[in-house]
Every structure is written in structure tokens, then in C-alpha cells.
């Protein structure tokens, strides 16, 4: 009899256990308990977050996640995490609050303000950016995102010569991906706007003045040959719109230090292409250096861009070099540090809540101290350490 029961239990799918526990926790009583616990806030609007909420988790609503972050922003690993935890929660941390505090007080008539996030590997720069992007979306900003700038250097899809300038190289496929991403994120916001000038892409093809901006973008997506030129046109249009107080623009570039490195792209006889020779990089650098009103640029330097052998440095000058700093200044350096003690405890609380930590030994004070020591306060390492628990 006992063996029969055992067999039935063991035949259940492994996901069932977690599922059922989550279902139970979402009953009304548990919901109320969740509000009471210290590591969560029920405020999902990031504009209402203040320094009181530091070290607490908040959940991004599912429609926002689908719209903004799902397509290109999140890596498969992070998507998998969301699937596991059945929600998209992020920890409210000091750097994000700091940036949002500055954004609230900033005079938007001033020329473009540049933020530079820096920090050690896996310290949470990306999720800080996610938080800020969510804030800007809640304020109806237009988001122009480069999820991983190093992709232009490393991912060899297609390279072509630029028609207008001989020394530059186009990346049509990357530009197409960028345009698609932009269109998906900002479809509702840029519906009404039209182009201000005519753009000639070749002798036969041109976009006339006054056509909707979405048409220009979809032209770039369908005619991939001109996708890179369309990106340039789009950036110019966005600058004009922002200068006329019609939109507010957030430019997000992850891994900006890849702008000053050699790429792996090749075209015919040109075996080595520097990132400065790419049209996309030039267009974005022009945008960053322009004094556009109503625009904020948020960049991050990433050690991942470097070779495997030297990824220890994480400070801006070491990663970007002197040219990078000279180009970007005046910028606002924002450090994203590793977890503090309070943050660490609240993350562990969250993992216990989500059943990521199940072993009873790990939940004790002693176990927590061990996990803390093993992780070295590093967010990703903390996640990794808790895998077998």
C-alpha cells in the first residue's frame, strides 16, 4: 500500500509542487500577509518610490513587462527566472532612486544629460536601468534602447558599405532589430507624429515630408538595405520632436565602452573594422553629443565587453579609455554597488518566499550567514549559491 502511494507521488511533475505553493500563497489571506511583510511593496508605480522603499521588492505589471522588456531587453536566463518566480519583481535600490530623484528635479530645457552607470560585474546595473526605464515609461517617455551595444561588434550578421560616406560601414540587420524594438515599445506614443523633411535613401527611393513616423520606420524594417539610414533619420526626427517639447526621450545604451573598441566585423578586403567606423555608433554618438532638450541618456559601462582575461577593472576610465571620458563629459557617474546587508536579507526573504531556497538549514540564521559569505554580497553569485538549496 505504501509503495503504491509513493509511486503516485513520484509520478507527479516536478513543477507541480511550486505551482501549488504559489497558488496557495495567492489566496486572499496570504495576499494580505504579503503586504505586511517587509520585503515587498505593493506600489507598482515607480514614480511613487522614495528612499523609504529602499531594499524592498516591487512587481512590474505584466502588460508593461510584455511591452517593454520581453523582446530584446531580457536575456533568456532572466526570462527563465521570471517564469520560475511567476512574476517580474525587482529590488528597489539606491542608484535607481538616485537617478529618479535627479530626473524629477532636472530642468528639461537644459541640453541632454548623460548618466553613466558603473559597477562590478553582475552588480545589478541592468536591473537598475530596468527600473529607470519603467519609471520613464510610466511618465510616457519615448524609449530608445540599445540592449547590448557590444552586439554590433561581436554578432556578425551582415556588413555593407555606406552609400553616403565611404569610410563608414552599415549594419542592416542590427539596425532592423533596433527599429523593430523601437516601434514595439513606442507605437502608441509616436502614432501622430510626421516627418519634418524629405530623406533621400537612393536615387529612386526617398521618404517625403509629412509622412507618419511609423511609416518611415516600417519602411526601414521592410527594406533592410536602407535600415541604417532610417535609424539616422529616426534619430534626427526624435531630436526635432524633443526640441519642440512634443516628446521626452530616454536613450539607453548598455555597454557603451564597446564604442571605443575593435570589432570582429569584416567586409571584403577590410579585415579590421573599428567601432568608430560603424554608422550606427557614429549616429548614436552624434545624438549623445547634441544639445537636445527633453532628452536624457543613460549609459552603462560593462566589463563583459573586455576579453575574458581582463575583466577585473570596472571603473569608467579603465573601460572606456581617455577618449571615452572626454567624449562623454560632463556626465553623472552613478555607482551600482554590491548588496548591502539589509538588501541581502530582503533578497533571501524573497527567495524563501518564492521557494528558491527550500532547505530548512538555509533558512536559519546560521545558514543565512553562510550564504552571505559564499555569495560575497554579489547579486548573481547569491542566486547561484542558492541553486542547490
Amino acid at each position: 500500500m505504501a509503495s503504491v502511494i509513493y509511486r503516485i507521488v513520484s509520478k507527479q511533475p516536478s513543477g507541480y509542487c511550486i505551482n501549488s505553493s504559489l497558488l496557495r500563497s495567492s489566496s486572499s489571506l496570504k495576499c494580505w500577509q504579503r503586504c505586511v511583510t517587509t520585503f515587498r511593496t505593493e506600489i507598482s508605480d515607480p514614480s511613487e518610490h522614495s528612499f523609504d522603499h529602499e531594499g524592498q521588492f516591487y512587481t512590474i505589471p505584466k502588460k508593461d513587462v510584455q511591452k517593454i522588456f520581453m523582446l530584446n531587453w531580457m536575456s533568456p536566463h532572466e526570462k527563465n527566472m521570471n517564469k520560475m518566480f511567476q512574476e517580474f519583481s525587482i529590488l528597489i535600490r539606491r542608484p535607481a532612486l538616485e537617478v529618479m530623484d535627479i530626473l524629477k528635479r532636472l530642468n528639461y530645457n537644459y541640453p541632454l544629460t548623460r548618466f553613466l552607470l558603473y559597477g562590478e560585474m553582475n552588480a545589478g546595473k541592468k536591473f537598475t536601468m530596468t527600473h529607470i526605464m519603467h519609471y520613464c515609461r510610466s511618465q510616457n517617455w519615448v524609449l530608445l534602447t540599445v540592449p547590448w551595444a557590444n552586439e554590433w561588434n561581436c554578432k556578425r550578421l551582415d556588413v555593407s558599405f555606406n552609400h553616403h560616406k565611404e569610410s563608414l560601414f552599415d549594419l542592416p540587420v542590427h539596425s532592423k532589430i533596433l527599429l523593430e524594438d523601437f516601434l514595439l515599445k513606442n507605437m502608441s506614443l509616436i502614432k501622430e507624429f510626421t516627418t519634418s523633411t524629405t530623406y533621400e535613401f537612393s536615387e529612386h527611393e526617398a521618404s517625403e515630408q509629412g509622412i507618419p513616423l511609423t511609416d518611415l520606420i516600417s519602411f526601414g524594417i521592410t527594406r533592410m538595405k536602407f535600415a541604417n539610414d532610417v535609424v539616422g533619420a529616426l534619430l534626427k526626427e526624435l531630436q526635432i520632436l524633443a526640441n519642440n517639447d512634443k516628446i521626452k526621450l530616454l536613450v539607453t545604451i548598455r555597454g557603451i565602452n564597446s564604442f571605443w573598441r575593435k570589432t570582429g566585423q569584416k567586409k571584403e578586403k577590410v579585415q579590421e573594422i573599428h567601432a568608430q567606423q560603424l554608422t550606427l555608433v557614429n549616429q548614436f554618438m552624434e545624438l549623445l553629443q547634441s544639445d537636445t532638450k527633453n532628452a536624457v541618456a543613460m549609459c552603462s559601462t560593462e566589463s563583459w565587453v573586455n576579453d575574458v582575461t581582463d575583466r577585473k577593472s570596472y571603473l569608467p576610465t579603465e573601460l572606456m579609455g581617455k577618449e571615452g571620458v572626454d567624449f562623454l563629459e560632463p556626465f553623472l557617474p552613478i555607482e551600482v554597488p554590491k548588496y548591502g546587508n539589509a538588501e541581502l536579507q530582503s533578497v533571501m526573504d524573497y527567495y524563501i518566499d518564492r521557494r528558491w531556497i527550500q532547505a530548512p538549514e538555509a533558512k536559519t540564521l546560521d545558514g543565512r550567514a553562510q550564504i552571505k559569505f559564499l555569495s560575497g554580497h554579489n547579486p548573481y553569485q547569491l542566486y547561484r549559491v542558492c541553486v542547490p538549496l
Binding site: L106, Y110, P111, Y118, T317, V325, D326, E329, L332, P333
Partner: protein, 350 residues
């Protein structure tokens, strides 16, 4: 197994006889024996131990060491005069050194390396047995009569430094050889304290570049060494000549020194860079916006030169300048970046 046989001697005393019958293992027998012993002794039995206990050692008479075969080290007293044993530099002699020294390859992990007796390895390496503290004490005592007393006014280090900025170091060598000359005695080292000399901002940076690693930049001292000439005096003269040449060369300013590029700068000069133009332009624009002028982007740049309307001695620009040059000079760190952030925030009026 051992059998026991109880023999009654008198009224109260019993004796147990242990008799070996077969080839029994010694240990086993001992165990049995001791067990019987314990059992019986409680009951006032005495055990006759025919096979003696093995662990009780018999007294063995030891031979006293033969004085004729002992080495000198063995016979030494603890309070003997070491300087008389080892007066000068000499290769190692195992017989005269009363120390338990070992040297050499260990053939097995658990084995020790060879001792000092007849050990050629110990002879190969240099030793300092002729330079022990009592040696040096006696040497000093012997030389003392040739020395003069150090002037008491100069015992203070700072007074000495101010009055005698030049320090000349030479060494003499005494050997009992055929020649009294030693080639090493020609070397001369001259230490100069540069704080006595007059330097301005330019000449300091220039002498740093010229002197290279001969100069200690923090303490501002110069160390000149020379052994290129055959005689000591020539070497000294050469050092002094080098010092003179370095000093006067650093005072001069050539025409090409103004053409230095940013990568050659010892210190970051913010006033000469593009950064200054950029910041002044930004500041000009911010001022325009704050005063409520509504000008187009293109016209504002062309209309007025920003460097005219914006004074670069303003507080926020000065703080930006210092923070940015600090960032460039000292490199990135949490402190410099934070200071830089504060200055930018100040510039943006936040």
C-alpha cells in the same frame, strides 16, 4: 593456552604457576597472565612470575665519552670568547662551530638533511660567523682611537639637513692581500636635498623628467651614483657636474616645450583642452535658459561666443575644473568619481 596450577605453600598463601605448554603467542600469553594476576591479587594471592616482564629494563652501564675523540665544539664552554674562535672570514669548519646545523638534500620525506659533520654543503655557502655582534663591538673599539667626536650642534637632523644638503658616500676596503687598492673604493654616491635649490613649477616637472629614477619625487631628493672613472675624485667631480647640468637645464625653457600634447602632460591642464570649451558652451546655454531667452539652438551658438559672456572664474566652473583634473590625474576611484558627480550636479543646478 597457559594453564594455571595453584600450589598451597602455607595456610594462607597460594602461588600460581604459569607454565608454558604450547607455542602460544607472546602477547596473548601476557594478556592471560595479567588477567590472572588481576584476578588473584584481589584475593591476596601472590603471583610467581616465571617468565619475566619484558618491559622492565635491566641496568646497562654506559661508557663515558673518550676525550681524545671529541671535537673543539664539543669541549667549548658556554661563556667562551667567540671572537677568538672565529677571528676573520673563513669557510665553515664543523669542528669549531657549536651549533646543531643541518644542510643538504633530504633523501626521504621523513629523513632529516645531513648534519654538520664532514658536510661539504655547509662549506660551499658563505657564512657570517666573523660578523657577529661581539666581533663588531671589538672592531669598533679598535677603530675608536682614530675617530673624532661628532659635533654636538649637528646632532639634530633638520639642522644638519639645512646646512649640509650634499651627502657624499664613499667606502674604503681593507684586505690582507698583495695590493692595498680595491677597485670598489672608486664608487661615489652623492645624495642631494633639492628643497634647498630654487625651482618653479616648470623646472620641477622638467627635472623630474630629466632625472628619471634617480630622483625620489615625494621626498625631493636626488641620488647620483658613479663608478665610471678610475679614480674616486674624478667620480665625485662627475657627480657634481651632473647635478649642475641637471639644475641649469631644468631652469631653461625650450620653444618646443609648449607643443606638448595631452598624452605628455605630467598634470592635466584643463584650460588648454576641448573640455573647457564644451563646459563654457554648456554654461552659456544654461544661463540663457535661466534668464528666459528663447533662442534657437543654431543661432545661439553662432550669435555670441560663449567664452566672452561666461566668466570661467565662477564657482561651479572652478569646482568642475578641479574635480575633472583630479579625475584625470589620480585616476578613477570612488572618491574622485563622487567629487566629479557633485561638481556636475552643481553645474546643472541640482
Amino acid at each position: 593456552m597457559a594453564s594455571r596450577r595453584l600450589v598451597q605453600l602455607s595456610n594462607e598463601h597460594w602461588i600460581v604457576l604459569n607454565i608454558k605448554r604450547s607455542t602460544v603467542h607472546h602477547l596473548q600469553r601476557c594478556c592471560v597472565h595479567s588477567r590472572i594476576k588481576e584476578d588473584l591479587e584481589d584475593e591476596n594471592f601472590k603471583v610467581l612470575n616465571i617468565l619475566r616482564d619484558k618491559d622492565v629494563k635491566r641496568f646497562k652501564w654506559e661508557k663515558p665519552p673518550d676525550v681524545r675523540t671529541l671535537s673543539r665544539a664539543d669541549c667549548m664552554k658556554t661563556d667562551m670568547n667567540w671572537t677568538s674562535v672565529w677571528p676573520t672570514k673563513a669557510p665553515f669548519r664543523w669542528g669549531s662551530v657549536p651549533l646543531p646545523i643541518r644542510q643538504g638534500y633530504r633523501k626521504k620525506e621523513y629523513k632529516l638533511s645531513a648534519g654538520k659533520y664532514g658536510n661539504a654543503e655547509l662549506v660551499k655557502i658563505p657564512n657570517f660567523l666573523h660578523l657577529t655582534p661581539p666581533h663588531i663591538k671589538t672592531h669598533c673599539q679598535a677603530i675608536k682611537k682614530f675617530c673624532t667626536e661628532f659635533p654636538s650642534e649637528l646632532k639634530n637632523r633638520e639642522i644638519r639637513k639645512a646646512n649640509f644638503p650634499l651627502e657624499v658616500i664613499t667606502s674604503d676596503y681593507v684586505t690582507c692581500g698583495t695590493s692595498i687598492r680595491d677597485p670598489r673604493s672608486r664608487e661615489v654616491t652623492v645624495n642631494v636635498d633639492l628643497s634647498v635649490l630654487k625651482f618653479d613649477e616648470h623646472s620641477v616637472t622638467k627635472i623630474k623628467k630629466l632625472a628619471g629614477d634617480k630622483m625620489d619625487e615625494k621626498a625631493m631628493t636626488l641620488q647620483l651614483k658613479s663608478d665610471r672613472c678610475p679614480v674616486r675624485k674624478q667620480n665625485f667631480d662627475f657627480n657634481v657636474y651632473t647635478l649642475t647640468a641637471l639644475y641649469y637645464e631644468s631652469q631653461e625653457k625650450e620653444d618646443w616645450e609648449d607643443e606638448m600634447e595631452e598624452s605628455d602632460w605630467v598634470k592635466y591642464q584643463w584650460d588648454k583642452t576641448q573640455s573647457k570649451k564644451k563646459i563654457l558652451k554648456l554654461k552659456h546655454r544654461i544661463q540663457q535658459i535661466n534668464s528666459g531667452e528663447k533662442t534657437d539652438l543654431a543661432s545661439s551658438v553662432s550669435k555670441s561666443d560663449p567664452s566672452v559672456s561666461v566668466v570661467d572664474t565662477e564657482d561651479d566652473i572652478q569646482s568642475y575644473k578641479s574635480a575633472f583634473s583630479n579625475l584625470k590625474d589620480e585616476g578613477d576611484s570612488r572618491e574622485t568619481l563622487n567629487a566629479y558627480k557633485q561638481s556636475v550636479l552643481k553645474l546643472l543646478k541640482l
